[in-house]
């Protein structure tokens, strides 16, 4: 269990220079969440185009894991259909839970795979999907 595996370059890159950070005008759905124990915060805003996530942005503050996860996951789902988005989220949850997962579907998100070995940090990595879950429920 080495730190370099947890804090991969790509994670630190997304933490220091997050993608899709900011707000959207007139989002179709928005949601936020926090981890009360550690204070990580994530808010997500989405715009849909029919069945497709046309745009997604997040704001938040917290540790490298929670913030890089938000950056990576927004990158992963932008332009995907809702169904594809749900598949990505499920594979990601499987990965964090230590179950089998499809690496091809996850792409760069697989960088967070070592988080599962740090039980105290799984919550940090899961916050974004929990927030995204809530936001997707607003899509009729």
């Amino acid at each position: 269990m080495s730190l370099e595996e947890l804090f991969k370059e790509i994670i630190i890159e997304h933490y220091q220079h997050p993608k899709n950070q900011g707000h959207l005008e007139h989002p179709d759905a928005k949601s936020d969440g926090s981890n009360p124990l550690c204070g990580d915060e994530i808010a997500m805003e989405l715009i849909f185009d029919g069945n497709v996530v046309r745009n997604v942005m997040f704001t938040g503050n917290g540790c490298s894991i929670s913030q890089s996860a938000a950056s990576l996951i927004t990158e992963a789902i932008k332009g995907k259909t809702i169904e594809e988005t749900r598949t990505i989220m499920n594979e990601y949850k499987n990965m964090l839970a230590g179950k089998e997962y499809n690496a091809d579907i996850l792409g760069d998100l697989e960088a967070l795979s070592d988080v599962k070995r740090y039980p105290a940090r799984v919550k940090c990595a899961s916050l974004s999907v929990a927030v995204l879950d809530q936001a997707l429920q607003q899509k009729k």
Partner: protein, 409 residues
């Protein structure tokens, strides 16, 4: 002080963590236990376990005696007048809630003012916040100064004839600041207000004299002073306890019950409903014995030296910001900090990989976090079994965490 010999008294300190020697620097959360405490608890169960204050047989006499001896140990440790003034609770939190639900419920009314500081742990804020809500009372918050000390001018200006209660943390669990509780008590008493001192962090690390402070209530947690978890104590002046209604009710807290009348037990048992945590109390007595043998003055001066050393060394970490007083004379062995570009959780994980245990998060003091403009801090907190070498390990690991996250501005 022979630290190496002292460390041998604490079995867990010789543990390896992730192939490294454990460096335990989360003593403000809870302290490790010496063998005498572990053995005292085991001895109860091996040799004389029986419910206290109930049996007429020898085992029950012995367990009751041990339980009440522990009360005497607590009395002596904080220099209370009488064991009638020592109520065992689960922890400091329960002690503070006991005050709010008994004395507070009867004595705080609409329009009354409760003064607490911005440094309070949630356990000395939320009970008063809720009480104020129930009663329509007003809470006033004493700010801290830029140097991490309490703003005494602001405190004085907040006191008025409406002030009914002052709640103050003796040693902040974030800043480490030692607040001038004796002066605060004298000022509050002039206005006729009762004073609650949260001693959860101070009692383990410095000599406490509740008669000298003259506070009306003082709360401690056993687990932060070498004792087992689940045992704490409330000190309250006898005159207060006499006038207060019981908190919880049931067995133990009564003298006589008929179907239409109840006579409460004498002090302090009136406030101890149900089978108490006598296991915890017996462990706490052993813990107090250990501390007294070392001497609180010795502990305080060694920890001050350690804190001064840590403050000096930690300053050399690039991008570090230390919260609270920067002079060891002003504080206990608690240092909260952040490092620019490295979130405190990440610091916590990186330190853990080196076997170093610290705390990251809001430290149950969210109003203080908000006041400092952050959502989380890292915190190293010491006890007398920590060493300068351990602080060197801490500082090296902090530098490493800065390296992992690159030298961002």
């Amino acid at each position: 002080m022979d630290i190496e010999r002292i460390r041998k008294d604490f079995p867990v300190l010789s543990r390896m963590v992730r192939d490294k020697k454990l460096v335990y620097l989360d003593n403000a959360a809870t302290t490790q236990k010496p063998s005498v405490v572990i053995d005292a608890v085991a001895d109860l169960y091996k040799n004389y376990n029986a419910n206290v204050h109930r049996g007429v047989y020898l085992l029950a006499e012995e367990s009751t005696q041990a339980y009440e001896d522990s009360r005497e140990a607590v009395r002596r440790f904080i220099n209370a007048n009488s064991t009638k003034e020592i109520v065992f609770t689960r922890n400091a939190t329960e002690a503070l809630n006991l005050i709010a639900y008994t004395w507070g419920e009867a004595n705080i009314h609409a329009g009354d003012e409760i003064v607490v500081s911005i440094m309070e742990h949630h356990s000395n804020y939320v009970p008063w916040f809720r009480l104020a809500h129930r009663k329509g009372a007003v809470i006033k918050i004493v700010p801290s100064r830029m140097d991490g000390e309490l703003d005494m001018d602001a405190f004085k200006s907040m006191l008025s004839d409406k002030t009914k209660l002052v709640g103050i943390v003796h040693m902040s669990n974030v800043f480490g600041t030692i607040n001038p509780v004796k002066e605060i008590t004298a000022l509050a008493h002039k206005k006729g207000a009762a004073v609650v001192v949260d001693g959860a962090q101070s009692a383990p690390h410095m000599k406490i004299d509740v008669r000298d402070i003259d506070c009306d209530f003082f709360a401690v947690s056993g687990h932060k002073m070498l004792g087992p978890t689940g045992i704490g104590a409330l000190y309250a002046k006898e005159s207060y306890l006499e006038s207060m209604e019981p908190f919880l009710s049931g067995g133990e807290m009564i003298l006589k019950v008929t179907l239409d009348s109840v006579v409460y037990n004498e002090l302090p048992w009136k406030f101890e409903a149900g089978t108490p945590n006598y296991e915890g109390a017996i462990g706490l007595k052993a813990a107090i014995g250990y501390l007294e043998k070392m001497g609180m003055d010795t502990i305080e001066s060694y920890e001050r030296e350690l804190t001064a050393y840590a403050l000096e060394k930690m300053k050399t970490v690039p991008g570090i910001f230390i919260y609270g007083p920067l002079r060891a004379e002003k504080k206990g062995g608690i240092i909260a900090f952040n490092i620019k570009g490295v979130h405190s959780h990440d610091i916590g994980t990186i330190l853990d990989s080196e076997g170093i245990a610290i705390r990251a998060g809001h430290h149950c003091a969210q109003p203080l976090m908000i006041d400092c403009g952050v959502s989380a801090m890292a915190r190293a907190s010491f006890y007398f079994y920590n060493t300068k070498q351990e602080i060197d390990s801490l500082v090296a690991a902090l530098k490493k965490s800065k390296e992992i996250f690159g030298h961002v501005a």
